[in-house]
Subunit: 223 residues, 2 copies
DNA sequence: TGATTACGCGAGCGATCACTCGTGTTTGCC
DNA sequence: GGCAAACACGAGTGATCGCTCGCGTAATCA
């Protein structure tokens, strides 16, 4: 079980080609899905020959694996900057900003992430990576909500709240990335934050004012 | 542009085969997605030969079209029974029950619906049908919310609220259908209804009690 | 009962796809 | 400059897929 039996020397040119191929793959996967995408189409998008593509990747699945792996890695790095003790101590509206904004930004910048992680026709290895990421993300959310719940939630209810909060976020995220860049998208983001706030506020013991259909929270706060 | 150039006579046996093939297609599409599904696999699942399959469908896309068409048709029938004047007059918690329960039931019974309507690798004709259904569904939701909003919402805000309510529902729906049948699924349904209630209550001028983390609404009501 | 038509089969055809290989070019190192 | 290795190419190969076709069976009608 050697990790790297052939740690082939790469030149700078090779590394550039790899990034170029991965970028092309992201575009085509995003537009057509994994299965419907041909390796020749990826090579064409990257303006190289099929032979060149196979110099850097052993097969089609490996392209998706590498692309997915890089995206997951970048996503995990963001987690580290999102789920910090400082953020955990923030008031709920600010906490929602602190968590949602980077998540949304990442997914808007990397639409291939959702395409790869959500498609039902992706290779098994990617689905595994996605499950791991999903589980770790979920446990962070559970921790965040569990630490603030007033009154404290039993474990099974905490699980359900975290699951639902995350699922609802994903639904809203789809709407956000589908919106055209600009004011429409930002309005969708604000709307999604309202959903999250109104759902979670009672869990953490805050009241939602009745007439505040347009405001996320009371005026005196920072938003 | 004749609608049915060859309205071929069918025997009862043929109609049964069609249903059988459609059911098999639903199962396989659901498990592997449209593109990754081979027509031979559908025939195998239905326990017939490839030749038999092609006696009833001119090509692979037609199978998905017919399946999608039947599901959309059934879904539209439900809309008629969901978005009625009586339901529109219901208090918010009961309205949410009246709208969500049939929707959830349908999607649990027909998982192929979500698979076909959400996949990025489906033939264009299905995507069109989905868009039409989505638009009509959304306008019904807009009507429901717009008629109750207190204070009344300007058109652009109403659009955003309806869009977000629907997107959030879809996210929660994915969680519900992914849950194992039984108490876990019903708990997820209740949780999703809480999300919808808490999001929409301020829009229609209701207050959400602060401590009511576990209750959807105040005790005296029917739930 | 015989004729007609729908139903059912599965080997096989053409097209496409993932992937290879022989050959030529560029780069890094002495 | 000379050599080895990485890079680049694109026609070609085997496999698979969507789909057909010829032939046999079952149902319907006269």
């Amino acid at each position: 079980m050697s990790e790297d039996p052939k740690p082939r020397r790469r030149q700078a040119r090779g590394e550039r080609r790899i990034s170029q191929l991965l970028q092309a793959a992201a575009d085509v996967f995003c537009a057509n899905g994994y299965t419907a995408t041909s390796t020749n189409a990826i090579a064409r998008e990257a303006k190289v020959s099929p032979g060149t593509l196979y110099q850097y990747f052993p097969n089609k699945e490996a392209i998706a694996i590498e692309l997915g792996g890089r995206l997951v890695h970048e996503m995990r790095e963001r987690h580290g900057r999102i789920f910090t003790p400082e953020n955990a101590a923030l008031p709920l509206p600010e906490l929602i900003d602190a968590v949602l904004d980077p998540m949304i930004e990442f997914n808007c910048l990397n639409p291939a992430f959702l395409a790869l992680m959500h498609g039902s026709d992706v290779p098994g290895r990617i689905a595994e990576e996605h499950d791991e990421l999903h589980a770790s993300l979920l446990s962070q959310v559970r921790g965040l909500i569990g630490a603030r719940a007033v009154p404290p939630l039993p474990a099974d209810r905490l699980d359900r709240v975290a699951d639902m909060a995350f699922a609802v976020f994903k639904g809203g995220l789809a709407l956000v990335v589908a919106a055209p860049e600009g004011p429409a998208r930002e309005a969708a983001v604000e709307e999604l934050k309202k959903v999250m706030y109104r759902y979670l506020a009672p869990v953490v013991g805050e009241a939602v004012p009745a007439g505040a259909a347009g405001a996320l929270t009371t005026p005196p706060t920072t938003r």
